[in-house]
């Protein structure tokens, strides 16, 4: 299997695993969102991932193209803030991935493009208690890995940064998104978007382990 076939297999497997993991945590994500938001984050993510999986079934293109399609389908099916942002994340990672070898450097560059798209659209800064608080530390940690580290290992090594970032949202007062209006009341609960982002990254860790190692 060449690098680009592997990438395709990873993306497909990741979407399938992500749907599994998020579905298993749908209730938890809903509860986190209900604490200060409108309680639909679990349902929204499941809806989006179902549509993303359905979309890639119909496509036989490269990994980048798959992610672009998955992102569009995710956004359209999810709606809401997370639909727009995660969909844009997938699509811009897909666009940045293009051809090239499927390695740590490529993935890092693609994720950096995704991160800046998410921050440009959502205008959230680190500390605003959003999914950016999990995504940015992860992307930074990935970028800090030795360039020759294989992607599965680099990914695994970067994961704790995402988890720590998501956990830290517990102590933050929301400044973006629905729960921003609640200010103080959002304290003490982790941000649902940051939490689900960690699940997405964990699903990718598994997909990489299965398909690349």
């Amino acid at each position: 299997m060449g690098s680009s076939e592997i990438a395709v297999a990873v993306v497909r497997r990741w979407l399938a695993l992500a749907l599994e993991v998020i579905t298993a945590h749908e209730e938890e994500l809903g509860r986190l969102d209900a604490a200060a938001g409108d309680g639909d984050h679990g349902a929204t993510m499941v809806r989006g991932l179902r549509a993303a999986n359905a979309a890639v079934e119909k496509t036989s293109d490269g990994a980048g193209r798959l992610l672009i399609e998955a992102g569009a389908a995710f956004s359209d099916a999810s709606g809401g803030a997370s639909g727009a942002l995660i969909g844009a994340l997938l699509s811009s990672v897909g666009r940045a991935l293009s051809d090239g070898p499927f390695d740590t450097a490529t993935a890092t560059k693609a994720l950096q493009a995704g991160l800046s798209m998410v921050m440009r659209l959502g205008k959230a800064q680190p500390g605003d208690k959003t999914l950016v608080d999990a995504l940015k530390p992860f992307v930074d940690a990935l970028a800090a890995q030795p360039a020759d580290q294989p992607l599965p290992a680099a990914w695994r090594a970067a994961l704790p940064a995402a988890q720590a970032g998501a956990a830290a949202t517990r102590e933050m007062a929301a400044r973006r998104g629905r729960s921003a209006k609640l200010g103080e009341r959002s304290l003490g609960h982790a941000d649902p978007g940051a939490t689900s982002l960690v699940y997405l990254l964990q699903a990718m860790e598994m997909a990489l382990a299965e398909k690349c190692e």
């Binding site: 809903g30 209900a34 200060a36 938001g37 409108d38 309680g39 639909d40 349902a43 929204t44 809806r47 569009a72 956004s75 359209d76 099916a77 999810s78 709606g79 809401g80 803030a81 997370s82 639909g83 727009a84 942002l85 969909g87 659209l121 959502g122 973006r176 998104g177 629905r178 729960s179 921003a180 209006k181 609640l182 200010g183 009341r185």
Partner: protein, 332 residues
Amino acid sequence: MTKLYNNPADFREELIEGFVAAYGRFVRRVPDASGVMALDAPRPGKVALVIGGGSGHYPAFCGYVGPGLAAAAVMGNVFAAPSAEQVYRVTKAVAGDAGVLYCYGNYSGDVLNFDMAELRCQEEGIDVRTVRVTDDVASAPRGQEDERRGIAGDFFVFKIAGAAAARGDSLDEVERLARKANARTRSFGVAFGGCTLPGQSAPLFTVEPGRMELGLGVHGEPGVQSSHMRPAREIADLLLDALLADAPPDAGSTVAVLLNGLGATQYEEMFVLYKDVHRRLLAEGLSPYKPIVNEMVTSLDMAGCSLTLCWLDEELTPLLDAPCASAAYINC
């Protein structure tokens, strides 16, 4: 609690189908999109007012589509903003030659998706403008009015923008009037109980017996403050204290009034409360103009209500009074 559904995943689709089946005399389905449009849209020479947001707020948003009101409503899933793709498709279906105004409550998800659609439409040469409703005084302090979320004040902004569009005003003018209506509209609400999403068994939040939440949202977001339950007359004062302290700078003395029920609060209770609201308005030297006590922007089956004041002037009053016809609001 949501009781009537088939598959929760089909809830939005089935509700759109049912709405169009019932009110086909006002709207039709936008082909291949999650939304409904007025029978006469696109209207040549007229600005198209496009409203929308998550479902669960009926009559907002689809109930306000028709002559003299919105040209179309984009309908998201329950409490989820519609996707940019759907906003785009609906816009394309109703855009005439006079441009499009987006009007919706200020929530992160709606802003993201409507903004992305606006960009895409503009790239295609459609002139799209946006006015976000920001009436909820509980959601951000004075000085940060633009950060506030939109709740029942939606109704007044839609009505005024829709009337200006129907009159044939230019896009600049419709935008200006919608912005002015929003700048002169304030709401504040109380909740007595949470609501439950279709297919879920627990409510989004609960209010302890004997207590109430102040400054609730219309998505089952809990309030910004909790208080012990009070008699109606004290709640009237509480609502009005919040609104009057935040009156717009150039406020006159005539106010349109909306006492809005969120779903499970009885109409009779709202009239009891309105009695005290009305007295207090008069005592403050304000003239309530054609008050509305009704469910105009709901939050599924949440118990609670909000009070909205829109400070009128000679420009806004005739727009509020202009004729319109839609599933949920008729004026003639």
